[in-house]
Structure formats: structure tokens, C-alpha cells
């Protein structure tokens, strides 16, 4: 049985369905990422799990128990807020030990634990600092230490890197990941940034308009986005319309594509996602060999970016596809026609919208 089970959770704000029939299972020791654009309901879902918000429908089970009647402070979950919500009238230690004091732990243990936590987040010697004197990164660490100090059964992180600048984010992301993995905590991490989600999550749930679009491991999510919305959100824009044929192939503007494994019936409209990194320049000339997927078009733009080329290819129907070609290949100049060979992995078939 999963540690956390969400069953048909729904929540409506002012006639707007913020969370719409969400069901998720989370195993003990796993980290779940809720990934989605801002306003998709991921924070609301997190707050429902925390008990800070009441769902209109559905149940949150934790360790087999229905949590509806359990007040947030009795759940022994912890939450890290987007702007950290550090208590401005307490110093660093005061913040970190707040939860322990609420649990009425003995003084000695509180002292011991606060030292451990400071060491864990790399803030030794910062204990008596006023939180208003800390930098953004230091605040983030204090907030993390505070939310881990009480040995929470579930850690909820609401965009914990969202208010930091890019460079700091990338550095702290690794630290955060290491700390969470070292402690082996069960956690839910809310973010709108797919790199963060790939780096932290054991499983990722993509949310859109209150619904879960897909739940998968990071690798599977990247390899096989379940639908167009997920694909778009993950940054894939080469989406070509097509139709399944009687032979099991797919008829598209690119030509007939081998279908791979799919279970769409004949004559169904589908969308084919062409991965930008799954193509190479076709050196051979002449017609395509059987099994070879050839894309031909006019080069609209070609940018050399060091490790690779960023190539925009306009295909027959006018649609422009984007490819990342290896830096060693020799693409044709803009304006000329060109042929690319796609690997089988490069094509993902998904239902039409």
C-alpha cells in the first residue's frame, strides 16, 4: 500500500476548478514532483495535502488513514514555502527549532538537533543571525532545515527555488537533491521548471488545468509524453498531424512514417511528435531505403551553437520543424533544400486533440 493516497480530489474556487478529480499514489521514500504551468492547481493540491485547504470532494489517505479530520499541525508533515516564510522575529536557531519546541522536545535534544540541521544545510555558525540579514540562498537553507528538523513523515516543498535567481537555483538544486536523497524522505515537490522536476523527482505528475495529464518516471515522461499538452509543456514543438493507415503506418505531411508500437485503430487522426535531437543529415542521395525515415524541406535558418546546430526546416506543407544537429554534421546553408534521416526513437505517436 502506498504511503500517501489521493483519491478523486477536487477543489473549486469562484466557479474555477482549481483541482479536478486528482488521484495519485506515493510510495514511502519516494519524491513526487508536481509539474505544471503557474495556475494549474499544483499549489492548491499541495495545500490540500497539507491540510491548509479543504478539498470539496475526495479523500487524502496517509498511511491508510483518512486525513480529513486531522488538523494541519497534528499531521507531522512539513512544508517549505515559496518565499520561505521565515519568522522575522526569531533568529536562525529560533526558526529551525520552532517545530521541535511545539513538540515539547527536551532542551538538550533541541540543541543537538539544531546543530545537526545547521551542519546538514552548511550553515554552521549562523545560529544567532537575524533572518533578515541572510541572503536568498541562506534563507532557503534555513527554511529547508526548519522543515526537516522535526523528522516529518512527509515533506511538502512549494517551489522552494522559485524566488531565487537562475545561477543560485542551479547550485541549490543539487544541494537540495542530495539532502533529500540522503535522508530518504518522502516528499512532494511543486515546480514549473522541468529541469528541476527531472533532477529531483522519482516520479513526475504533469498537471494542467487542475487535472493530472501524466504520471511517470522522468525518463519515461521525456521519452513518451502522453499527449500534446504534455509534449508542449515539456518544450517539444515539432508536432505533425497524421492519420493511421490500414498497413499500421502513419500518413503525414512528412510522408509515410513507420508507426512503431501503438494501438490506435485504422483511419484515426493522430499527432506525431518529432524529437529535435533524433535526426542526422542524410549523406546518401536517391530514394529512401525501406525502413529509413527521410524528412526533406528547405532550410529556413541555421544557427551554429558550438556543440550543435539549431536548424529550422520548412517542410512541404509550410510547417517549420526544429532540429538539433550534431556539431560535426555539415548542414546546407539557409535557403537551400536538405534531407534529414530520423531515428525510430525520434517519432512519438499521440492522440489528436
Amino acid at each position: 500500500m502506498a504511503l500517501l493516497e489521493l483519491r478523486h480530489i477536487s477543489k473549486t474556487f469562484n466557479h474555477h476548478r482549481a483541482v479536478d478529480d486528482v488521484s495519485i499514489d506515493l510510495e514511502d521514500g519516494h519524491i513526487l514532483c508536481l509539474l505544471g504551468p503557474s495556475g494549474c492547481g499544483k499549489t492548491t493540491l499541495l495545500r490540500i495535502i497539507a491540510g491548509l485547504e479543504r478539498s470539496d470532494e475526495g479523500t487524502v489517505y496517509f498511511d491508510g488513514h483518512d486525513m480529513a479530520a486531522v488538523e494541519p499541525h497534528r499531521r507531522n508533515f512539513s512544508m517549505m514555502f515559496q518565499e520561505f516564510a521565515l519568522f522575522p522575529h526569531m533568529d536562525v536557531v529560533g526558526n529551525i527549532t520552532f517545530g521541535l519546541k511545539m513538540q515539547k522536545q527536551p532542551r538538550k535534544e533541541i540543541l543537538q538537533r539544531s546543530k545537526e540541521m545547521l551542519a546538514l544545510v552548511g550553515l554552521d555558525g549562523y545560529g544567532t543571525r537575524n533572518v533578515s540579514e541572510l541572503s536568498g540562498g541562506e534563507r532557503q537553507r534555513v527554511a529547508l532545515a526548519r522543515s526537516l528538523a522535526t523528522h516529518p513523515r512527509l515533506v511538502l516543498l512549494d517551489e522552494p527555488l522559485g524566488s531565487l535567481d537562475r545561477a543560485l537555483r542551479e547550485r541549490l538544486l543539487l544541494d537540495l537533491r542530495n539532502i533529500l536523497k540522503t535522508l530518504g524522505v518522502t516528499a512532494i515537490f511543486v515546480t514549473h521548471d522541468q529541469t528541476e522536476a527531472y533532477a529531483i523527482g522519482d516520479i513526475i505528475a504533469v498537471m494542467n488545468r487542475g487535472k493530472i495529464e501524466q504520471i511517470d518516471s522522468p525518463e519515461k515522461l521525456y521519452d513518451r509524453p502522453a499527449n500534446v499538452r504534455v509534449a508542449r509543456f515539456l518544450g517539444f514543438h515539432n508536432l505533425v498531424e497524421g492519420c493511421t493507415t490500414a498497413e499500421g503506418t502513419i500518413d503525414t505531411a512528412l510522408g509515410i512514417l513507420p508507426a512503431g508500437d501503438h494501438d490506435f485503430p485504422q483511419q484515426t487522426r493522430v499527432i506525431v511528435l518529432i524529437r529535435p535531437d533524433g535526426a542526422r543529415v542524410r549523406d546518401e542521395s536517391g530514394p529512401a531505403q525501406p525502413g529509413e525515415i527521410v524528412v526533406s524541406g528547405t532550410v529556413k535558418d541555421c544557427l551554429f551553437k558550438g556543440r550543435n546546430y539549431h536548424l529550422e526546416l520548412q517542410i512541404e506543407n509550410g510547417q517549420a520543424l526544429v532540429f538539433e544537429l550534431s556539431g560535426e554534421s555539415r548542414p546546407s546553408p539557409a535557403g537551400s533544400s536538405m534531407e534529414l534521416v530520423l531515428s525510430k526513437r525520434a517519432c512519438v505517436i499521440m492522440p489528436a486533440e
Partner: protein, 568 residues
């Protein structure tokens, strides 16, 4: 070569310096003559009543129990008023801080109206509601056939306390509610997630974070109640006297000027200490809160509990703040025969037995005339002071800023008393001058002009003036075409402030106004002190006029000010 490159060209420096000193000179001379000179007179009168040092009156003040009792009463009624105001207003502050509902802005403006009303009008309004001839008593007597009014609050401490709560409700709402709105809800949510119950969260997080602003607001309410004059004089009757009321009695009724001076001295010391503590507290308040926690997070009352909390508070506000004002209007148009405008008409007449030498309507004319004069004077002095403070970041400016604010920290009664003892003989004999009243009002009002204009002036970046100068504008042209258009709104705010303060001023006016040139608050005070339905009705009618004028001025302020940050 070096001399040419030197930026600090001495000639330029000298002329700007002279200009700056000139700008500061106007308010400084005004303060010296109309503030410090009367104050020094009070000092000399209390230490040297006959021109030689003698501490008899001060000693008497300390040794007689009557005056100790006065001081004690002043303190405890102020403390009790403060506590009651806190209890009544904190729930209101909470709903304004945390909820969003229709009509909220309107309601918030409405709650502030009592604070800007003249104290005489507040006293009249409570008379209209709960006084012996008040609306509640008349109704009870009519319904139950009673011969005496069943509610006897007149001349009791409860009447005073109620009026003080009514008056200061908005201070708590604005200061504490403002701090509460800036408090991120995530702070208490974080505490909840760390295992704190809702009560513990309030005790450990919300309350400590609000504490400085609760202190500041309470202290402000305490200061207002400590120097309360009109309310206590009218509602308290002869049994109750704060230091302010006692100064008035000693000076006007008993004519013991040295004693009045000694009491003024005590009052000055106390208010200065309180104001000093207040500014110190305020500086601390701004330090504690996060700079980035300005985001206002409010929600609609969605659950049943929310709706009950919000609804109860709104009803409580309407009853507490609305009923005295409604009663005032109702009493001004109701006679034994029913609805009538007879009291308003009577304002224009001057019957034989009138307590005035002139028709009451002339009091309205005098009030408006004085207020307009005070407005012009306040603008001149306030703009000079603000311009000087905004351009200068030197030590002189940081010393002069609180100096310019001193009149705010001095009670009006003390000022009025200082005027009658200082300005009635050479070198400055203004006793018969009609200017005495507007001068006193200017002193009370110009700090508000400074406080509303200064932030706007300071928000103008220096390079704006510099670029105007580089484009060939003289400093006067820069002022007219660059500075003035930017600060225009705040100047209007300051002007309306000055006008409303002047038109309702009572404490100083009661000393300095000549009997032939009474103002509206004085007229109301005299009407209320006389027996008879006609006098009572006229007091109600004139109070209503004054209330409407002040409320309109204030609502105009709120409109202009909306969207821009002002200092309280």
C-alpha cells in the same frame, strides 16, 4: 585650472545656501513667535508668577491631592479607553486585513470619519443618541410612559469611554489592520505545519509580529485620550476633569493663571515623553517586518464561520460608529411635532434671549473665514518647511524635521492658553485681533501639510531638477513647471486637511476666540450648555452641518489620496 574644474563653485553655493535658509526661515520665525514665545511665557508664569522665581504653584500642584487626582484620572481614563478601544477594534482590524468583501473600501473610509470629526460634534452626537433628551431615552420614555430618562449616562465615565472608543476605533483599524494585512499568511501556515495549534500560532507568530504595531496604535490612542478636552468637558460634566479640562477651568473660571500654567507644564512634559516613545516605537515597527511582505493576501469570506465573523463585525461597526451620527442627524430635524427644519431656521435668527450677540449663522461664516485663512497660512508655512526638508539631508534638516512637528505633540488647550497669556500685551498685542484664531489654527494644521507634501517632494529624483536646470529653467521655473505638477495632489490633500482641522478646532479656539466672533464648535458648545429644546435642537443642527462639512472634506481626501501612500 583646478579652480575652474572645481564643482563647488563658491558663488553658487552661497546663493543656494541663502535661498535655503530663507525657505527655512518662514516656518522658523512663525514657530518662534507663535509657538515658542507662548510656551516660554507658560514656563515663566509657572516658575515666576510675579516675575521672581517662586515655586509655590508647582508645590501646591504636587502637595494637594486634588491635582494628583486630576493627573490620576487623566491617566486611568486614557488607559481604560485604550484597552476598550483595543478590545472592540481588534476583530475589526482582523477582518479588514484578511477578508475581501463588497463595500469594504467604503466601509473603511466610513470607519475613519469619527476620527476626523470635531470633538464637540462627537459629544453632541452622543448626547443625541444616549443623552437625557437623546433618541434612545425619548423612545423608551414614550414607549413605557416613563417620566424620567431611564438611561442616565450623562456626566458619567461610561459616556466618556464610549465617545473615546468611537473616536479612536479607526486608529487601531488603520495601524494594526495595516500591519496585519502585510503579514504573510504563509508565516502562520508555516507554524501550523511545524505543529503549532491555531492558538499557539497566534501566540507565537501573529501576536509577536503585530505587537509593535499594537503598541504604537495603543500609545497613539492613549495620547489622544490623555489630552482629550472637548469630549470630557461636555460629556463628563463638572465631576470629571483631565489636565486639559483643569487648565481651562483654572484659567477661564477661576482665573488662577499660575496654576493653569503649572498644569500646562505638566501636560507638555507628558505629551512630549509620549510622542518621543511613539516615534521610537514606530521606527522599530518598520524594522521588524519584511520589506517584501507587502503583498496583500485577502480572501472572500467563503465558509459559514467566515461569514459570521465578517457579518458580526460589520454590524458592530455600523452600530458603534453609525448610530451616534445617525442620531445626531435625526435629532436635528425632529421636534415634539415631528419632522421639522425649525432648528436650522433658528440658526439664522437672533432672538432676544440668545446667548450670542449675533445670529448663529454668522458663526458659520466666521468658521469658514478662519478656516480659509488658516489654510492659506498653513500652505505657505508647510510648503516652505517641506521644501527645505526635502532638499536637505544635512544634520540641520534631521533636527528641524521633529522641530517642525512639535505643535502636533502639544495639546491645543496648552497652545490656546499660551496665546492668551503671551499675545495680549506688548510687544505683541493681538488680543483684539481677528487673526488670533487663524494663527492658532495654522499652528495646529501646518504639520499636516508638511507630512502630506514631504513624501511627494522626496519622491522627486534630484536629476529631474538638474535636467530642468540644464534645459535653462530657473529654480522658480523648475518649481512651477516640474515640482508643483508632481506634488499638486498632495498639496491639495494638505490644504483639505488644514481646512477641516481649522473648522473643527475647539481646544485652542475656546481660549482665543472673541465673544463676537465665535466659531461653529464654540456655538455648539454654548448651545449644549443651555437648557431648552430650542438650544438643544440648534446644537444638533449646527453639529450636523459641521459633521457633514468635515465628513465631506475627509471623503474628498480619501478620494485624492487613494492609490498613494501617505503618512498617518
Amino acid at each position: 585650472m583646478d579652480r575652474v574644474l572645481d564643482n563647488n563653485c563658491p558663488a553658487v553655493n552661497r546663493s543656494t545656501n541663502r535661498y535655503r535658509i530663507g525657505i527655512a526661515g518662514v516656518p522658523l520665525v512663525f514657530l518662534a513667535v507663535f509657538y515658542f514665545y507662548p510656551l516660554i511665557k507658560i514656563f515663566t508664569l509657572s516658575f515666576m508668577p510675579e516675575g521672581v522665581p517662586e515655586l509655590g504653584e508647582l508645590k501646591k500642584l504636587i502637595s494637594t491631592s486634588f491635582y494628583i487626582r486630576t493627573l490620576w484620572f487623566t491617566t486611568w481614563q486614557a488607559a481604560l479607553s485604550t484597552i476598550l478601544t483595543l478590545i472592540v477594534a481588534l476583530p475589526g482590524a482582523y477582518i479588514f486585513a484578511r477578508y475581501r468583501f463588497t463595500g469594504k473600501n467604503l466601509l473603511q473610509s466610513f470607519t475613519a470619519i469619527p476620527f476626523v470629526l470635531p470633538s464637540v460634534v462627537v459629544a453632541a452626537a452622543f448626547h443625541a443618541l444616549l443623552g437625557p433628551n437623546g433618541i434612545v431615552n425619548s423612545w423608551l420614555m414614550d414607549s413605557f410612559d416613563l417620566t424620567v430618562p431611564p438611561i442616565r449616562l450623562n456626566h458619567t465615565i461610561w459616556f466618556i469611554l464610549m465617545a473615546h472608543v468611537f473616536y479612536n476605533y479607526t486608529v487601531i483599524i488603520r495601524i494594526v489592520g495595516g500591519a496585519w494585512a502585510r503579514l504573510q499568511p504563509s508565516l502562520s501556515e508555516a507554524a501550523r505545519m511545524l505543529g503549532a495549534s491555531s492558538w499557539k500560532t497566534f501566540r507565537e507568530i501573529t501576536f509577536p509580529l503585530l505587537f509593535p504595531s499594537i503598541c504604537a496604535a495603543s500609545l497613539l490612542v492613549f495620547i489622544f485620550c490623555f489630552s482629550s478636552f472637548g469630549v470630557i468637558l461636555i460629556l463628563g460634566g463638572p465631576r470629571y476633569a483631565t489636565i486639559e479640562v483643569e487648565i481651562y477651568r483654572q484659567a477661564v473660571h477661576i482665573f488662577n493663571l499660575p496654576m493653569a500654567a503649572a498644569l500646562s507644564l505638566v501636560q507638555i512634559c507628558f505629551t512630549f515623553v509620549f510622542m518621543w516613545v511613539y516615534t521610537w516605537l514606530q521606527r522599530r515597527t518598520t524594522f521588524t517586518l519584511y520589506p517584501e511582505s507587502r503583498k496583500v493576501t485577502q480572501r472572500k469570506p467563503s465558509t459559514r464561520k467566515d461569514r459570521i465573523i465578517v457579518g458580526t463585525n460589520i454590524i458592530a461597526m455600523a452600530v458603534l460608529l453609525g448610530s451616534p451620527l445617525a442620531a445626531l442627524v435625526a435629532q436635528s430635524v425632529s421636534t415634539k411635532q415631528g419632522f421639522s427644519l425649525v432648528y436650522y431656521r433658528a440658526l439664522f435668527e437672533n432672538p432676544e434671549q440668545s446667548i450670542f450677540y449675533i445670529p448663529p449663522v454668522e458663526a458659520i461664516a466666521y468658521s469658514i473665514g478662519f478656516a480659509l485663512t488658516a489654510l492659506v497660512l498653513s500652505l505657505i508655512i508647510g510648503l516652505c518647511a517641506a521644501t527645505f526638508l526635502a532638499q536637505n539631508k544635512s544634520r540641520a534638516a534631521s533636527l528641524l524635521d521633529p522641530l517642525f512637528m512639535l505643535p502636533l505633540a502639544t495639546s491645543a488647550v496648552t497652545l490656546g492658553f499660551g496665546y492668551i497669556i503671551a499675545l495680549d500685551k506688548p510687544p505683541l498685542n493681538l488680543r483684539t485681533s481677528i487673526m488670533l484664531v487663524p494663527l492658532a489654527h495654522t499652528l495646529v494644521a501646518y504639520p499636516f501639510v508638511v507630512r502630506s507634501v514631504l513624501p511627494a517632494l522626496r519622491s522627486i529624483p534630484a536629476n529631474l531638477r538638474e535636467s530642468a536646470a540644464m534645459l535653462g529653467a530657473s529654480s522658480v521655473q523648475t518649481w512651477m513647471h516640474v515640482v508643483m505638477p508632481i506634488v499638486r495632489r498632495s498639496v491639495i490633500v494638505g490644504a483639505v486637511f488644514a481646512f477641516t482641522i481649522s473648522i473643527g478646532e475647539f481646544g485652542a479656539t475656546v481660549f482665543v476666540a472673541r465673544p463676537q466672533t465665535p466659531t461653529m464648535p464654540l456655538a455648539i458648545y454654548r448651545f449644549l450648555g443651555q437648557p431648552g429644546a430650542l438650544n438643544y435642537g440648534q446644537a444638533m443642527a449646527m453639529s450636523t452641518v459641521l459633521m457633514l462639512a468635515t465628513a465631506l472634506g475627509f471623503l474628498l481626501l480619501e478620494r485624492i489620496r487613494s492609490g498613494q501612500e501617505g503618512e498617518f
